[in-house]
């Protein structure tokens, strides 16, 4: 049977460590994911229903539960397979409450890059 507990603070039994539940709820990632740009398929994710392949090097995670506004913090990163971090890069942009855009590049040009990841922190609607 489902149950609901409403508390302000969560602490360990000894009372030596505690955290306000605001930090637990507001501080948790509201979405994260990992995909290969080559097939634009989500390998694993949270709160992401699908990944839109817009064009070469452009992807948009579609969220299951929307964020409350477009001011959330999204991070992204990607890696090519050459063990050098210099020639691939990514950025998040075009924030909407239900999705955002990830652009990936390699050697200065838009490219589908593997091991592309993202997170979104903020308030859910």
């Amino acid at each position: 049977m489902a149950s609901e507990l409403r508390v302000t603070t969560i602490a360990n039994n000894a009372g030596t460590e505690s955290v306000n539940t605001t930090y637990v709820i507001n501080g948790s990632a509201k979405a994260w994911g990992h995909f290969e740009g080559s097939d634009a398929t989500l390998d694993d994710s949270l709160n992401t229903t699908s990944l839109t392949d817009n064009s070469t090097g452009s992807f948009s995670p579609q969220l299951i539960n929307s964020l409350a506004n477009t001011n959330y913090a999204s991070s992204t990163n990607c890696a090519n397979t050459s063990n050098t971090a210099s020639n691939s890069g990514s950025k998040a942009q075009t924030y909407a409450t239900g999705s955002f855009n990830i652009v990936t590049t390699q050697n200065g040009a838009d490219a589908d890059v593997n091991d592309t990841i993202y997170t979104a922190h903020g308030d859910l609607a």
């Binding site: 149950s3 603070t9 360990n12 505690s18 990632a29 859910l124």
Partner: protein, 142 residues
């Protein structure tokens, strides 16, 4: 009225690994466990040997090569598709513009138990050790 819950472990009732929290706006619920960072670490490789300033769920480091550090987890991830981020400053902590943008860092060679954080210095066109490296992982624990 403020309230404090004192426990050492939280578990779901229907499924031990699934506790839901209500969204800030009240319109949705989401898994508490899945939203939490499963690893974070701030560490230095300036001496050539990785040394942590502070960390969560990190059992050890291995210096694979210059600028390449294998971070081994205490509790394993459920798969190797986790979302791992890395950032790196320059070789000193001085907040000069060049220093702030000097390096880039990415995770490579992900497994369920470790990941290699590679730090690249574009201006030197090579991997590099650095004073301040940060990394975090989101994903599912085993």
């Amino acid at each position: 009225m403020a309230s404090i819950l004192k426990v050492d472990q939280l578990q779901g009732i229907v499924s031990a690994g699934d506790i839901t929290v209500t969204s800030e706006g009240g319109a949705a619920t989401q898994s508490l466990q899945q939203g939490l960072a499963k690893m974070w670490v701030s560490f230095s490789t300036a001496s050539g040997t990785p040394s942590a300033y502070d960390s969560l769920n990190v059992s050890s480091f291995a210096d694979a090569a210059a600028g390449r550090t294998t971070i081994t987890l205490t509790n394993n991830m459920n798969n190797d598709d986790w979302a791992g981020f890395g950032h790196s400053s320059g070789s000193t902590l001085a907040a000069t513009p060049g220093n702030l943008a000097e390096n880039s860092a990415i995770f490579l060679d992900r497994t369920t138990s470790d990941g290699e954080l590679d730090v690249w210095k574009p201006t030197a066109n090579q991997m590099t050790d650095a004073t301040l490296n940060d990394a975090s992982i989101h994903g599912d624990l085993a």
